[in-house]
């Protein structure tokens, strides 16, 4: 039988990273995600797997430490919350330009500015549309449970190295702070330096006579070459969009109305859906698990089935833009969100759906 533990989301992703064979973590404390670094320090991964953990002097330093390690072909991660992720955008853009794989965690809190430490989903645009400068995308995974916080560490590293891309786990304070049951996997071995040389020939592992020197840089001053680099990146993002969409559908088969929500909002909507079903309202839930790539096709398909789509986000309406692109005008799409760190209640959400689509 697999080991089970009651864990906070923040602890689960730390444990997930250790067990996925992560080589290094660099981070800086910020509420509501400091448990990630605390858990790693407490659990001595250096003794367990040789994984290295360092508290850096800032989020800026953290992300550039990640850059240095990732460029050596190592599995490296950092975590932060909204204001800290803003500081990291420089490094994230540089990693996009150099195609360095890494795992990033944003346990989102309400903003703008220092905002609040309570959960929010107001960093969707920053994560999905590119928070830093330049034309780039990250793969964005949205966990809705503590188990997914754990699972996505491993999945995130797999995707990051499969595509040489940054994978951001876009969580929030609720998922980070809550405890749920987590089923743990066996420890995976860390990758060896020999394996890195074979699998990642681009990595800076030291120039040997059998190859040219490896250079990790995002700079090319020749616009013709720079355009080619950008086209290559866009082709990669297209391939990811075609192959890596992940979503969950609940009670969609006979649904006349649809909730679309991710992360903790999706959990609230799941309850709202149950309350709705109890009242005889045929409502389903589509939960995007990947926010990039976004499940446009599934929303398009469901748009010809349902009478209305109710988006629920803890933001002023960010994901709804992608939902509208998917629905493409076929069906009314409405937004409901609470701001500033307030999590909507299930009956509140259901009442909004009823008001928007049924009572009228």
């Amino acid at each position: 039988m697999k080991e089970i533990r009651l864990m906070k989301g923040n602890e689960a992703i730390a444990e997930g990273a250790i067990r996925a064979g992560c080589d290094g973590y660099f981070g800086y404390p910020i509420t509501p995600q400091s448990e990630v670094l605390e858990y790693l320090m407490e659990n001595r991964p250096e003794e367990r797997t040789g994984m290295f953990v360092l508290q850096a002097e800032s989020e800026i330093a953290s992300i550039h430490m990640v850059y240095g390690g990732a460029a050596c072909g190592k599995r490296v991660m950092t975590s932060s919350s909204s204001p800290g992720i803003s500081l990291m955008q420089e490094g994230i853009s540089f990693m996009a330009g150099t195609e360095l794989p890494c795992l990033l965690l944003n346990v989102v809190r309400g903003g703008p500015g220092l905002g609040t430490i309570q959960p929010s989903q107001s960093d969707y645009f920053q994560a999905v549309k590119g928070g830093g400068h330049g034309d780039y995308k990250m793969i964005v995974l949205a966990p809705a449970s503590v188990q997914e916080m754990y699972d996505f560490a491993k999945l995130g590293f797999e995707l990051a190295f499969k595509y040489r891309i940054q994978v951001m786990i876009l969580s929030d304070g609720a998922i980070g702070q809550m405890m749920e049951k987590v089923v743990l996997d066996e420890q995976l071995p860390r990758i060896t330096d020999e394996e890195i040389k074979k699998k990642y020939p681009w990595a800076t592992t030291g120039k040997t006579p059998d190859r040219e020197r490896n250079i990790i840089t995002s700079l090319d001053l020749d616009p013709v070459r720079q355009e080619k680099i950008n086209i290559h990146l866009q082709e990669k993002f297209k391939k990811i969009a075609e192959n890596e969409v992940r979503l969950e559908k609940l009670m969609c088969d006979d649904a006349e109305y649809l909730f679309v929500a991710y992360g903790s909002s999706a959990r609230v909507c799941q309850k709202a859906m149950q309350l709705g079903r109890d009242k005889g309202i045929k409502v389903g839930l589509l939960r995007p698990i990947t926010l990039f790539p976004f499940p446009y096709e599934e929303i398009k398909r469901l748009s010809s089935q349902v009478k209305g789509i109710q988006c629920v986000e803890m933001s002023a309406g960010q994901m709804i833009e992608d939902v509208k692109l998917g629905a493409n005008g076929k069906v009314p799409v409405e937004h409901f969100g609470r701001l500033g760190g307030i999590i909507p209640a299930p009956d509140e959400v259901l009442n909004v759906l009823i008001k928007n689509f049924i009572k009228n």
Binding site: D23, M65, Y67, G69, C72, G91
Partner: protein, 258 residues
């Protein structure tokens, strides 16, 4: 024309007393004629060659004139965001502790935008080498004021001379990092005369030795000229450097390894 000089005649084995290290690539240097960067590059590469560490070395290039250092150095290199080279090098060294890791940074990169990363890498005693080329000006972006620009020195953003009352005195970051317990060896050198070049090479050797012996961060400042930015001939710029830069940034060891 028996006595005329031809390439074939010169290229005789007995005449080949000087050659470039194979760790420098054949790419022509992009630096202005008279600039010290090329010499500094070459000294670092000569030492790595002599240590036989090409396959074990990972360098970090900054933003600034030496942003393209990786075009000239035949080793694996990473290009870091402006000022972040010490953090990048930290990431490399902590995950690849057996590699020889160095950053190569200018004054704007190391002592302005990257001050935080520099001080904290030094304070942690990261087992890396930092080679810091200080020419008191932003060369690549066209001669703007640097944190090490001397008082009253004219730059494109201090066209009437640096007003120290408003912009502060030049930052002696090398003296600053020498105060931190994490640094093992801190020195200031130059590459404007053959004698100074030899001293600089010795300092680079010592710095790498500190890293190999895991003594902590070794920090080598190289005071250099920027004849283009200073708007002087190379010779005049070296003279100006001796007369003006060296009194403020005196050469020599500031902290020696125990």
């Amino acid at each position: 024309m028996e006595n005329s000089i031809s390439k074939e005649k010169i290229c005789q084995p007995e005449n080949l007393v000087y050659s470039k290290t194979p760790l420098m690539t054949c790419n022509p240097l992009s630096y202005c004629p008279g600039c010290g960067h090329g010499t500094a590059h070459r000294m670092i590469m000569e030492v790595i060659e002599e240590l036989n560490m090409q396959a074990e070395t990972i360098g970090v290039a900054p933003v600034g004139c030496s942003v393209l250092a990786y075009d000239f150095l035949d080793i694996d290199m990473q290009q870091a965001a402006h000022g972040r080279a010490p953090a990048v090098a930290t990431g490399i060294k902590r995950l690849m502790p057996n590699k020889l890791v160095f950053t190569y940074q200018g004054d704007g990169d190391l002592a302005a935008i990257g001050t935080g990363e520099t001080l904290h890498a030094c304070n942690r005693g990261e087992n890396i080498c930092i080679f810091f080329v200080n020419n008191g000006i932003y060369g690549m972006t066209g001669g703007q004021m640097a944190p090490t620009t001397l008082p009253n020195m004219k730059t494109s953003t201090s066209p009437f001379g640096r007003d120290a009352a408003s912009t502060g005195q030049p930052l002696k970051i090398t003296e600053l990092v020498a105060m931190l317990p994490g640094t093992s060896y801190v020195t200031r050198q130059s590459v404007h005369t053959p004698a100074n070049v030899r001293k600089t090479k010795k300092a680079i050797e010592k710095a790498f030795q500190c890293q190999l012996e895991k003594k902590g961060l070794a920090f080598v400042e190289i005071v250099s000229n920027c004849n283009s930015g200073w708007k002087m001939t190379p010779l005049d710029s070296n003279k100006w450097m001796e007369e003006n830069m060296f009194p403020f940034f005196p050469l020599g060891d500031i902290k020696v390894p125990k």
